[in-house]
């Protein structure tokens, strides 16, 4: 049981980071972005490409990578944020002006398939790994073994979430973002430039998604379909936590990660992706505003 909980928290770290961007786009840009999973995929592949160019340096302790990899993660996040802004400029910006509001969702579904196949075109369909070094799992509690890489992932995810919390509560931009998230018209009246906030959403959402993707690459593997396979659990996390709530997304990601991992004790692991979906479905049926969502 302990091992399943540990594995759930590690998966939850990826899901939480992905769900933050998803909940922000859902709430501020007003559409379900099905191409969000591909931001994780591209983040992971950008890191893969960069790791091939930049040297890792000597490995740190029992980790499978060195200091250089931190730089790789940062650069991958920057590139992915750039990609998110580019797709927004190319497609969503135009569709936002059209009268068909849901066109955005169709476009994002199309963008998701296209981006996934761009990955196949550039890097090929085979799974990739950041390091061929085998990471040995150490016991941390009775019956619970984790690798140093996995601890790194969970700790860095926690640091990022604290950072995001400080950004949202202490900085002007963060407060403006929350204001737009609460009420777009009211925020505009107070002089907040909504276009800047839209860009900020893509930057924050895109870079966190990229890091989530790299985490998944470190703890599982990198592949063209990774983002698509994660999009449903991420939506489940965002909805479970309550759409628009960043803290809800973090909580939802952890709950879904734990649920999917622990469920494999009783259920065939092949059905793992359906577990998060089933939870989301129950939530929509019984309590659609989510755990930490606004009451409307």
């Amino acid at each position: 049981m302990g091992q399943y909980i540990a594995d759930g928290i590690i998966l939850g770290a990826t899901l939480s980071l992905g769900a933050i961007g998803l909940t922000l786009t859902f709430n501020i840009l007003r559409f379900a972005n099905f191409a969000h999973g591909e931001l994780l995929t591209f983040g992971a592949y950008f890191a893969l490409a960069l790791a091939g160019v930049l040297s890792f340096g000597p490995t740190l302790g029992s980790l499978t990578f060195g200091w250089g990899f931190i730089l790789v993660i940062v650069l991958a996040a920057v590139l992915t944020a750039g990609l998110a802004l580019f797709v927004d400029w190319l497609v969503y910006r135009i569709l936002r002006r059209s009268d068909v509001a849901v066109a955005l969702v169709i476009a994002s579904f199309g963008a998701s398939l296209m981006l996934r196949n761009v990955v196949v075109l550039i890097w090929g369909p085979q799974p990739e790994y950041y390091s061929r070094t085998i990471s040995i799992a150490q016991p941390i509690l009775p019956g619970v073994r984790v690798t140093a890489d996995e601890i790194f992932v969970v700790v860095l995810a926690a640091v990022l979430m604290v950072g995001l919390h400080l950004f949202l509560t202490r900085t002007r931009m963060g407060k403006a973002m929350r204001a737009v998230s609460d009420n777009v018209l009211l925020a505009q009246v107070t002089g907040i430039n909504v276009h800047n906030i839209i860009r900020l959403v893509w930057i924050v959402g895109g870079s966190l998604a990229a890091i989530g993707g790299v985490f998944y690459g470190i703890t599982v593997q990198v592949g063209p379909n990774m983002g698509f396979n994660l999009i449903l659990p991420m939506f489940a996390s965002a909805i479970l936590g309550g759409i628009g709530s960043v803290y809800g997304a973090v909580l939802g990601g952890m709950v879904i990660g734990l649920a999917e991992s622990v469920s494999t004790i009783w259920i065939d692991p092949a059905y793992k992706p359906a577990v998060g979906f089933a939870l989301m479905f129950l939530m929509l049926l019984l309590y659609p505003s989510g755990l930490l969502g606004e009451r409307s």
Binding site: S98, V102, V105, G110, L113, V118, F228, I239, L285
Partner: protein, 321 residues
């Protein structure tokens, strides 16, 4: 020459199977504004239900009821309608994107079931030897295909006229009213939720019928036939042809299917075998581009929805608009 003719027959049958599905989607999206991106899931339910009810006895999984063709189709329609009802119940009261998430979720889940519930579906090996109707009367495969083509034309025409009658009826006008202005429609005493659920269930039932016809035509189904790419193709067909227009849905199905098979044969002919996977990727990117360009430049499609103006509005509407 017969080679070309038989290819054309084969092509048209498949295009018409997809146009059945696109017609179902058109009722949901074109007329009601419902965002279903789990098309592949309803297509799957229809296909497997038909295989179980009308297919031969399988040694490893459920089947062997040997029911008549029409009963198999009816079962497929009922099963996909039931799935749609379960999905629609919690999600159709919420913002439209929730239906999108729920439908893609159910499609992924159903695909997992098809892949893993071996006793029910045959797992990754799929279900084979699914029968076609009138098999005893046709002796060559071309004759069998021509009979099936005639059947498909009849089915598509039946669905087309039924849908046209429905969307022009008071019921159809309520659907459009809800799509355009939910608050106004509900202020006139129409329950948006009930009408949406009806439209969603009927549309999904038509998709299930398409899935059953597909299973019968191909004779073999496997979980890999029901990937999200299928949903994407159907959407491309509807958007290209023109959502909100049933003739557009049929036209789009033929055109996009021609583009899809055309680029498929082209990449197969041009690319060396080592690059075939990448060729498939190029094919998907191409269809995606067509969809995007349509969405941006011509969101109404090739033949979009006809503008309907009531007589009263035309008389008194001078100076407006």
């Amino acid at each position: 020459m017969t080679g070309l003719a038989s290819y054309l027959v084969f092509f048209l049958i498949q295009a018409l199977v997809y146009s059945v599905v696109a017609l179902g989607l058109n009722l949901q999206w074109g007329y009601t504004g419902l965002f279903n991106i789990g098309v592949a899931g309803f297509f799957l339910v229809g296909g497997y239900t038909f295989a179980i009810l009308s297919g031969p006895a399988y040694s490893t999984h459920l089947g062997g009821f040997g029911l008549p063709f029409v009963v198999g189709l009816g079962g497929a329609i009922l099963a996909s309608a039931l799935v749609a009802w379960v999905v629609g119940l919690p999600t159709l009261r919420l913002r439209e994107d929730y239906l999108a998430i729920a439908t893609i979720g159910i499609a992924v889940t159903l695909q997992l079931v098809a892949l893993n519930a071996r006793g029910l579906t045959g797992g990754s090996r799929g279900a084979e030897s699914i029968p076609r109707p009138f098999e005893h009367f046709t002796h060559t495969s071309l004759a069998s295909n021509i009979v099936f083509l005639v059947l498909m034309v009849v089915v598509v025409l039946l669905i087309y006229y039924a849908l046209e009658a429905m969307v022009r009826s008071p019921w159809g006008r309520v659907l459009k009213a809800i799509r355009e202005d939910e608050a106004a429609a509900s202020s006139l005493g129409k329950s948006p939720f009930r009408f949406r659920l009806q439209s969603f269930v009927i549309g999904s039932a038509i998709m299930g019928l398409g899935g059953a016809l597909n299973a019968s035509f191909i004779g073999f189904i496997a979980p890999t036939d029901f990937l999200p790419i299928l949903t994407f193709e159907i959407w491309a067909m509807l958007i290209v042809g023109g959502s909100g227009n049933n003739r557009g849905a049929i036209l789009g199905s033929v055109l996009v299917w021609a583009l899809w098979t055309g680029t498929g044969s082209l990449t197969q002919a041009v690319l060396p075998s080592g690059l075939q996977v990448k060729g498939g990727a190029v094919q998907i990117i191409l269809i995606g581009l067509v969809l995007m360009v349509m969405l941006v430049l011509r969101p109404r499609g090739l033949i979009g929805e006809e503008a309907v103006v009531s007589r009263e509005a035309e008389l008194g509407g001078e100076g407006r608009g």
